[in-house]
């Protein structure tokens, strides 16, 4: 199960190795070649010799997580967040640290020992610690180094058409590119860019695009859905189960009109249920790609996920299939009409 394998892997920004190795093994039999670049992006190429537009499909391998910033004399570990995490979600979670996946928990003072007033306020980051069971600093030093990265330990599970797990943003995009490369033959060169460091400032993907110089790029993402109690309908941004979300404009990019039209046409023709992403908050690698060199037409399609950037998010697998169908449909248009 590809999504399970990918989402349970560790891949906090700049430490995407486990994810990269899974992807390499998955795509190898189906692509012309793959390579890594200076940043650590993995690029898989299919149909390189074909004529027609050069297309980049981009998704990022990295996920938000934690970085160990101090080893206390007590053996407890202080940490900071890598990428955007609401600090209030951290307490009372299981984590794993570093390459050897040292298990730990994020603890807090028991409720019995708290003042009433304390409970009303969120626990600040500098009052949270990871406990790995080390009795003192010396013991901790044998297991953990400063700068080590940690993730949540959430397991993937599927209930009907819904899936829950961590790092859907953006392992679902990685999975979609992998499956497209496995299932499809293309009439034009397609570059699957599995990018690093999206969560810390859209750092990776555009560097790959700089070398590839594609005619167009499509970013496949997991995006936030807020179709939950407490949000008015006009604040949902996306709705789970209503199909893949097409971005018109976010804080990093305005989707290129030509691609946008093509996507809508493909959706209509193939009767693919879709929705617009109904906010312009948040940015993706497409923004950085679009500004490479003389400019690269770019677009973003995403699968709505509730509780994104937290230990457990939820998505609809029909939306995921819809995302793939939309890319396939658009590719059929590209094959016919060019770009």
């Amino acid at each position: 199960m590809l999504l399970k394998k990918l989402t349970e892997a560790m891949g906090v920004s700049s430490n995407e190795d486990e994810v990269r190795e899974i992807i390499k093994a998955e795509v190898e039999p189906y692509v012309d070649r793959y390579y890594t670049d200076m940043m650590g992006n993995l690029i898989a190429v299919k149909g390189e010799d074909k004529s027609g537009p050069r297309v980049v499909l981009s998704a990022h391998m990295d996920e938000v997580g934690l970085m160990i910033t101090k080893l206390e004399d007590s053996g407890l570990l202080k940490f900071k967040t890598v990428g955007g995490i609401d600090e209030r979600i951290l307490v009372s979670k299981q984590v794993q640290i570093g390459k050897s996946k040292i298990p730990g928990v994020i603890g807090a003072k028991a409720i019995h020992l708290q003042q009433k007033e304390e409970q009303k306020k969120p626990i600040p980051l500098n009052k949270l610690y990871i406990d790995i069971g080390a009795k003192n600093k010396e013991e901790a030093e044998k297991l953990v180094e400063l700068g080590d990265l940690a993730t949540f330990t959430t397991k993937y599970s599927q209930i009907g058409e819904y899936a829950t797990g961590k790092a859907f943003d953006d392992r679902l995009g990685c999975a979609a590119i992998i499956e497209l490369m496995q299932e499809e033959e293309f009439d034009f060169p397609v570059y699957g860019v599995f990018a690093v460091q999206e969560e810390v400032g859209l750092r990776g993907s555009a560097r790959a695009a700089y070398a590839i110089e594609p005619d167009l790029a499509i970013e496949l993402e997991g995006t936030s859905a807020s179709d939950v109690p407490g949000t008015e309908k006009h604040g949902y941004s996306t709705t789970v189960g209503e199909g893949p979300a097409i971005t018109v404009m976010d804080s990093s990019v305005i989707t290129h009109k030509k691609i946008l039209k093509g996507l809508l046409k493909a959706a209509e023709k193939n009767e693919i249920k879709y929705q617009y992403r109904r906010t312009n908050v948040g940015g993706t690698d497409a923004g950085m790609i679009s500004l490479v060199k003389e400019g690269i037409p770019a677009a973003v399609i995403s699968v709505p996920c509730r509780y994104i950037h937290s230990p457990v998010s939820l998505m609809n697998l029909d939306d995921y299939q819809g995302l793939k169908a939309l890319v396939k449909g658009y590719f059929a248009e590209l094959e016919k009409e060019g770009f």
Binding site: I254, R278, T279, E294, I296
Partner: protein
Amino acid sequence: MKDLIEEITGIFGPSGSEEKVRTVINKKISNYVDGIETDKLGNLIAFKKGNGEGKKIMLAAHMDQIGLLITHIDENGFLRFTKIGGVNPKRLIGQRFILANGMTGTVGVEKVDEEKEIKFDKLYLDIGASSREEAEKHVSIGDSAIYKPQFDVSGNRVISSYLDNRLGCAVLIMVLEKLKKSPHDIYFVFTVQEEVGLRGAKTAAYQINPDLALAVDVTITGDTPEAHTMDVALGNGTAIKIKDQASITHPMIKELLILTAKKHGIKHQLEVLEHGGTDAGSIHLTRGGIPSGTISLPIRYVHTPSEMADLNDIKASIELILRVLGEEI
């Protein structure tokens, strides 16, 4: 001049939808230039050849304007929206907006107790539709809207929506009309997506790779009651930018502009802007660095539907650009 400003400020073209502006400008300048093209992001790049002995100069004015992006249509036909560029939600109530097809609407607000609660999620655009079905005949999610264009002349000043930065576009058009001879290869670039992150200028500058660049854009003033501490005043001439948040004018360009203005007795003022930026911000960091500066048009009430400019400042700006282009650099 006034006619041109009225015409060009009235065209629909928020960030990402600059097509109509591009078409109008293209028509107006094509006779004056040696080449003209639209690049991948939508920038209009016009080229005027020099005598082979000058420099390669890029002039940039952005075509796009701030506005609203429609994000939701409810059962009763009300539209919800978010902003495109720097729009202040507290100043929108009662303002009229138009869609690309000319449909007009006005902004209303949900019941709120205090003004500080007014954020985009409390506002809606009412286009007179009484149901979702009716509204959807005229608008769909992802469409954009702009302030309904208004243009007036008051004495020596114009009050208009979208002087930012159609006034810059108008200035470049008038420069092209008046420019007789220059030793330099000049690229007049009408850029896209400035209001959402100085984007178009970046890719255009990469393609052109000029020796130096000047952005032509508006700036705010400090000459109104209890204003910001700022020296720029309406009517005090063209403003030569020293610094804003996105760039520090290259010392060579700063000197070039000041000396040229002094030499030809062009009324000018120096500008230090604490916030904001212009296309020069992204141009000067392109490739290995491009010496850049900005010629600013002083404007009061920026990003409101009633921006005000002084006609003499506009003339001074045009003259400064013409004189700079005529100089050996």
